[in-house]
Each structure stands twice: as structure tokens, then as C-alpha cells.
């Protein structure tokens, strides 16, 4: 049973998509699992033949339970968990900037042996032999460790980092597509949220005129495909505001708050087929507006074509929901557990606005913060919302 999220402890098998004897390829979906986040399709990281299914449909089993045996090519009958590093990201492709040795002068073949070419994908998680030994000795789950070595391999340093930090961010790459599954996932997550999270709500009306004027000017100089949406400004403002009030970002787990350095903003996205998911744009604070725009487009497209990676579903650290033009004035959003905050934006409306003793028509947006009272208090929440407001008044600096 792969771990598909930091807070996932168990999963219930809904359906086997394979049976013993089936030939499977890396990437094939082998089963569907119900989790608190939704129904997740589990893909195989191995190519081979299904030897035995060990878990029955309807059975709920803890994470890391062996679910099936797959015999890989050229291998005797050996037990191999279907997703050995469930969460273990297939070693993320190393930076394509993998160093080409500088050409000597005069140009000549370099006498040094090239490092093995980084391979973006491999049949199995790359773990250096020494790291593997330590992982086993420490009883760690390799799937919770992100490799930084050659070819994304897990190294001793990665293991040590994992041992010293309590890592919330387990990840997985599997695909979630099923609509009914999503409906059920929403049901479970929202019910859990309302059951467990003591929400507090704060709202702020934000003057959007400067931001929108700036955006219009900016977009007028851009080709259509490169134009920015105002929600990109909102996302960025939320990410930057988090720097001032970090309690809004992270998770509530085991009776305490676990912060996150990076802001992975979950973007609530409604699906054409119904339902709602909130996949993450990673590290919004570290991205330029253009990059956020690009990531948003990509994410929405993929969300709507069921092309999301499960890490995008499992690791937002805060969620933003923006109702958009066809929405209503304001929204009182529900936190997505185990996150601790959600920011909702209504549609942009024009309304009478008094400033400096003058009344005029302004375009405004109603921002609402849903906060987890276990992790933060209203005072901090207010600071956060004010910060968002303030950031929106200097859009050129976002």
C-alpha cells in the first residue's frame, strides 16, 4: 500500500485492475485505492508479471502493506512490492543541466571518465548501496526520502537528512482520475475537516483597482498566450503573505503544527465532469508571475484531463480558492486536512468605495481566510489577510 500523502495511514482496496499472470508495464494502473484524499489509482513501478494478489477488495490495510507480488523480467519468483517506493518519486529527473565537462583547450576528448548519464526514469528507485544499508538499519521507509544523488539516487546525506528531520512530505506519483472517486474523496476530506478542524473565519475586502489596472497594462503588451490572470496575482500574494505569517502554511498532525518552508499552493479547481480538486503549484513564493501563470495553466489543463501527479494532490501546504467571474461575492471555504488554512476569493465586483473622504466606484474582491484554530489564532489570521491586501496594492512588486 503506497503512501499517497503525508497523513495517509491506510487505504482501502476498491478494485484490482490486474490479475495474476497479467503482464504489466511500468506505469500501468494496477489497482484503485480509497484514501481520505480520494480514490487513487496505483501505478506499478515495475515491468513484469503479476504473480500474486495479496490484498482483497474492500480490505483496509496500513501503508507499506505488501499488496501484490510482481516478478520482473529475468527475475526468479521474488517478492517485490508493486510500488516499492510508493511515495518515492521516481527519482526526479536530474537537472538537465547535468554538467558537461568543460571542453579543454585545445578541444580534445576529456580523459576523465564521464559520470553515468543521469536517467530520468528507472525501473526502481535509485538508492546508493551505502544509503540502502543505512535505510535498512534505521528501519526507514525509502519512499519517504527524496534522492539528491546522481540520477536522483538517494545518498547517505539524504538518509541522514531524513533521519534528522521529521518529514511530512511523503509523495507519490500515481494518477487520480475517477470522478466518483473524487466525489467520495471530497466527501471524506470535507467531513473530516468539519469534524476535526475548529475553523475560524476572517474576511477582508481588497481594492483591486491598482492590481487590475497594472494587469491590463501589462497584458496589453503581451501576446494572448502570455497574458496573466488576476488569480495569479492572488496566488502570489498569498504565498508572500505566508512569509509574514508562517502559521498559515503547513499541516496539523499528531497534535502539533508542522510548518513548511516552501509554499505549495493548492488551487481549487472544479472539474468539467463535476467535483473539485486542489492540486498544488509547487513553491509559488519562489516563482515569477509568469511561472505561476504557466504552472496554473498547466495544472488546470492536466487536472481536467486527469493528468495529475499524485504528489500534486498530496502536498499542498495551503489552499486558495478563487470563484472567478462566474462566482458570487464571497466564499467561506473549508480547510483541506491536514492543511491549516484556506483562502477564498469571491468574484471581482465593482462597488462604491470611500477613500480619503471621497466615494468612488472601485473594483474589489472579498477575501476570506478559513483558519485552523488549533494552529493559529484570529489575530495572526488578520495579519495575514491584511498582508495579502497590502501586497495587492503593489502588484508590480509581486
Amino acid at each position: 500500500m503506497p503512501s499517497l500523502g503525508a497523513d495517509m495511514e491506510a487505504g482501502t482496496l476498491v478494485e484490482w485492475r490486474v490479475k495474476p499472470g497479467d503482464a504489466i508495464h511500468r506505469g500501468d494502473i494496477i489497482c484503485e485505492v480509497v484514501t481520505e484524499k480520494g480514490d487513487i489509482e496505483v501505478e506499478s513501478w515495475l515491468t513484469g508479471t503479476v504473480e500474486q494478489l495479496l490484498v482483497q477488495v474492500g480490505q483496509k490495510v496500513p501503508v507499506k502493506t505488501l499488496m501484490a507480488l510482481i516478478r520482473t523480467e529475468g527475475e526468479g519468483a521474488a517478492a517485490v512490492p508493486p510500488a516499492p517506493a510508493p511515495s518515492a518519486p521516481a527519482p526526479s529527473a536530474p537537472a538537465p543541466s547535468a554538467p558537461a565537462p568543460p571542453a579543454p583547450t585545445p578541444p580534445a576528448p576529456t580523459p576523465s571518465a564521464p559520470l553515468p548519464a543521469p536517467q530520468p526514469s528507472s525501473e526502481r528507485t535509485r538508492i546508493s548501496p551505502a544509503a540502502r544499508k543505512r535505510i535498512e538499519a534505521a528501519g526507514l521507509d525509502a519512499s519517504t526520502i527524496v534522492g539528491s544523488g546522481i540520477g536522483g539516487a538517494i545518498t547517505i546525506a539524504d538518509v541522514e537528512k531524513a533521519m534528522s528531520a521529521s518529514q511530512p512530505a511523503a509523495r507519490a506519483e500515481s494518477e487520480a482520475t475517477s470522478v466518483t472517486a473524487i466525489r467520495r474523496a471530497i466527501a471524506r476530506a470535507m467531513a473530516r475537516s468539519k469534524r476535526e478542524i475548529p475553523h475560524y473565519y476572517l474576511s477582508q475586502t481588497i481594492d483591486m483597482s491598482r492590481a487590475l489596472s497594472w494587469l491590463e497594462r501589462e497584458n496589453s503588451a503581451r501576446e494572448l498566450p502570455r497574458r496573466l490572470l488576476y488569480s495569479v496575482l492572488l496566488l502570489k500574494a498569498v504565498a508572500l503573505a505566508v512569509r509574514e505569517v508562517p502559521e498559515m502554511n503547513g499541516f496539523w498532525q499528531d497534535d502539533h503544527w508542522i510548518g513548511s518552508d516552501a509554499v505549495h499552493a493548492g488551487v481549487a479547481t472544479s472539474l468539467r465532469s463535476g467535483g473539485l480538486i486542489a492540486p498544488a503549484i509547487h513553491d509559488v513564493g519562489g516563482k515569477s508571475l509568469d511561472e505561476v501563470m504557466h504552472a496554473l495553466q498547466d495544472l488546470v489543463n492536466r487536472a481536467r484531463s486527469s493528468g495529475l501527479r499524485s504528489s500534486e494532490l498530496s502536498d499542498p501546504t495551503i489552499t486558495v480558492t478563487s470563484l472567478g467571474e462566474r462566482g458570487c461575492d464571497s466564499v467561506m471555504p473549508i480547510i483541506y486536512p491536514p492543511q491549516v488554512a484556506i483562502v477564498g476569493f469571491g468574484r471581482v465586483v465593482e462597488q462604491a468605495w470611500a477613500e480619503n473622504g471621497m466615494v468612488g466606484a472601485r473594483r474589489v474582491i472579498h477575501a476570506t481566510l478559513g483558519g485552523d484554530h488549533r494552529a493559529s489564532d484570529g489575530h495572526r489570521g488578520a495579519l495575514f489577510l491584511r498582508a495579502v491586501d497590502s501586497l495587492m496594492q503593489s502588484p508590480e512588486q509581486l
Binding site: P101, P111, A113, S128, G147
Partner: protein, 342 residues
Amino acid sequence: MTAIAAAVPPAAMPGVVKTTYRDALRAAHRDALRRDDRVFLMGEDVGRYGGCYAVSLGLLEEFGPERVRDTPLSELAFVGAGIGAAAAGMRPIVEVMTVNFSLLALDQIVNSAATLLHMSGGQCAVPLVIRMATGAGRQVAAQHSHSLEVWYAHVPGIRVVAPATIEDARGMLWTALQDPDPVVMFEHVMLYNLEGEIAETAGATDLDHAAVRREGSDISIVTYGGCLPKSMRAAETLAADGISAEVIDLRTLRPLDDETILKSVAKTHRAVIVDEGWRSCGLSAEIAARIAESALYELDAPVVRVCTVEVPIPYPRHLEEAALPQAASIADAARRLVNHHG
């Protein structure tokens, strides 16, 4: 404790003299010729000429033409004669001018020196030392620049050593002469002028162990012979980048001192093997295989090799330099291994 230690007068330091690799080798020859009258030196131009690399300069005058014998250009015959003389009880030192020419004597070394003891059921030992220069770097082109140490290191029955320091140039010969079996000694041409200090009392050094020439914790650079100084320079560079490199001088290429190599790898978890020989089927391949066989679970990164580009060594300086391992390429390889860009 420190106070007490400081109160103890320092032990008298033995005298230290400045010397060169070449002079240290000569001193070793002189020492051996004086100590054991079974020892004699023969080879091309070792006598009147003083040795192609001037190692034996002056020895003819001191020991006479019987014990410092100039040979005709007949590598097969005089190496074979050295083997026969050793089998018959002498302790010959045979200088083959360079490894390139030793190929003409390969039959005698491989088919006789290496086999006689085993083939005769232990009756016919061959206590012989064959010395030869090896390596590139002097712009003498393809036929004079080989590093074929591995050809000899491949063969059971012979011991292969490569002094890379002045101490070993001074100390390996006597120990090699005490070895009851044939020893092939490789002297890298770029080392002869190496200058340094050595204890006046310096003598024999062992032939059984590799040496840690520099201690480090991040990466092991395993090398020998002419690549040792380059590797030491690379380690200096790496230190400036915050990478602590350990440098292992193999010293003896057969039998390899696995223990020292593996111990270092167990400490650093990374290994770069530097060999002026070609990579394919080379010594570096052997060492990498041994690390994989015995220290796989200590490795935190793939083993990397820095070897000579697989070409005959060209004459022009820039091409020759590009072909050979250099301090910079060694440091680059080490840096890439330590600072991997996952």
C-alpha cells in the same frame, strides 16, 4: 598532559637530506650492490652510458663491468638471462629501458619468470628484479609512452610495484631483491626529477601495503606511480573547494592491497580511480571490480575512473596533455561525484 609532553625533550631528529627520485634509486642500487654480492645490474646502457635515465650513473666505475653489465639490444635474451641467473642463485637487477621495449621480453617474463616456480612444483624460484620506466608526458609519441603495468599485473607469479615517492624509490629495491619471486618495478618517467627530502637513514620499504598519502573523508582517490603527484595536486584543489579527498598510493599493483582500498572507501563512500593506463580492461577496471565485489554497500555513488583517453599517445604537447589524466580532470571527476547535481 600537554604540559608533561612538552617537558619531554624532543627525540633527536635523524638527519634529512635533499635528493631526487633518480638519486634515491641510485642510492638503492649502490646499497644493494654493496650489501649482497649476488646482486648485479644489467641492461641497455646501464654501464658506460650511466643509464638511459641516469639511474646507474657512476655504478660501473664503482662496481666494475661484471656487476654493472651493458647488454646488447636483446631484451628477450638479457631478461631471460636474468631469469636464468636468478634461478641459478643470483639476485639480478635487470633494467629494461622502458616498458615499451619490455614487450620484446614478454615471453620470458610471462612464460618463464611467472611460471617456473609453480610448474616445477616449487623447485625453481626466480628471485629477480626487473625495472623499467613507464608512462607518458615527455612528448616521445606513441611507441615510447605506454603505461602497460596492467599487462604484468595480470599475471600470477610475479609481483608488480610502482614506487611513486622518493622514499619508495630508495626503499623498494632492496625489499624486492629479498623477495624470492620475480618483481617487476615500474618507474614513471615524470618522477625521475622529483625532488624532496629523505631521512639520511632511509632504507627498505615494504612491498605489501598501499599507502594513504593524504587523509580525507569525502572521497577516495586511488592511484599509483606517475598519477600520484597529479592526484595530490587535485586533492589540494578539492580542499580549497571544501572537499576532503583521501589519496591512496597503491605502491604494489600485484598483489593489490585490497584492505587499504576498501577501508578508505568504507570511510569516504566514494572512489575515483586514477590510472595512466587505458580504461578498458585496465588496472582501474580491476580496482573498481574489487570495490564492487567487497564494498558495494559502502558506496554512496558510482565508482568513477580517470584514465588515459583510448588513443596511442600523440606527439604534440597539447594533445598529449589532453590524452592523459591531469590534476584538473581528477579534481573535476571528484567534484562531480561529491557535488552531484541530482
